[in-house]
Amino acid sequence: MIDSVIGPTHFITVAALLFGIGAAGAIWRRNALMVLMSIELMLNAANIVFVAYGRQYGDNGSHAIAFFVMAIAAAEAAVGLAILIGIFRTRQTIEVDELDALRDET
């Protein structure tokens, strides 16, 4: 046991802030690239929570989990950017609001 003035709660609060900022960005940004970056921010925040709890309870496994999440984030970014490039090729824009070919008839 190590006594520490900076405890896991500190880190988890920071993670919650980053997650909230990321979620707000994903909802409010109109540029698709910014939406993807905001989602990266959210995954990153989840990673901090894992590592912080791992530290609190002495579990190394959280480091392995964080590593896997990074790999998943990388794969997700690759696929997302590939989809985005395809959209840009046909529409010359990646504004989310311009994507309106599919919608309910009213």
Binding site: H10, L17, G25, L41, Q56, H63, A64, F68, A73, L81
Partner: protein
């Protein structure tokens, strides 16, 4: 006053590093989301991700910190910047105008509130020694987490096939 420093951890090197890393991470994230140009946003995101690596170091996760810089701030963000350059994106309208002022107020307000909470009321706790070296984590990856390690390769294969299928000019 000294009680305040002791409580908030500002009397230790660790405390200063935490507050510095956390502040830069949060400000970087805010700037990412609020900047009009995607390129600026991406650069701010790199700043934020690198400061998170500092937080990982404070948590004793040196392997994760290295991966954070190499994979996240390195590989993934280079991919983003590459695409921004490829598409030649200029500044856009940014956040929906109606939300912009609300977002700024809410974002800064929340950040200030949480900072106040952290500094004044969150107390430190017990932490346990974790071995975050490459050797320790590597042993785990090929031990308890072997299945996830193998399954990730399937996921990466999907991403490779997907990038080729969606990105290639002509498929047939």
């Amino acid at each position: 006053m000294s009680a305040f420093f002791a409580h908030s951890g500002l009397d230790s090197v660790e405390g200063w590093f935490f507050y510095l890393g956390a502040a830069v991470a949060v400000v970087g994230a805010l700037m990412t989301v609020l900047s009009r140009s995607p390129l600026r946003g991406a650069l701010w995101l790199i700043v934020s991700l690198c400061s998170v690596a500092v937080l990982y170091l404070l948590l004793g996760a040196s392997f994760v910190a290295a991966m954070q810089v190499l994979v996240y701030a390195g590989a993934i963000m280079v991919l983003f910047i590459f695409v921004i350059m490829l598409l030649n994106l200029g500044p856009d309208a940014g956040v929906r105008p109606a939300y912009l002022s609300v977002a700024k107020v809410l974002g800064l307000g929340a950040a200030a509130y949480f900072t106040f909470q952290i500094v004044t009321s969150v107390s430190g706790g017990k932490a346990q020694a974790v071995d975050g070296t490459v050797k320790a984590v590597g042993t785990l990856l090929l031990g308890n987490y072997l299945f996830a390690f193998e399954a990730i390769s399937v996921l990466l294969l999907v991403a490779v096939v997907g990038a080729v299928v969606l990105g290639m000019k002509r498929l047939t």
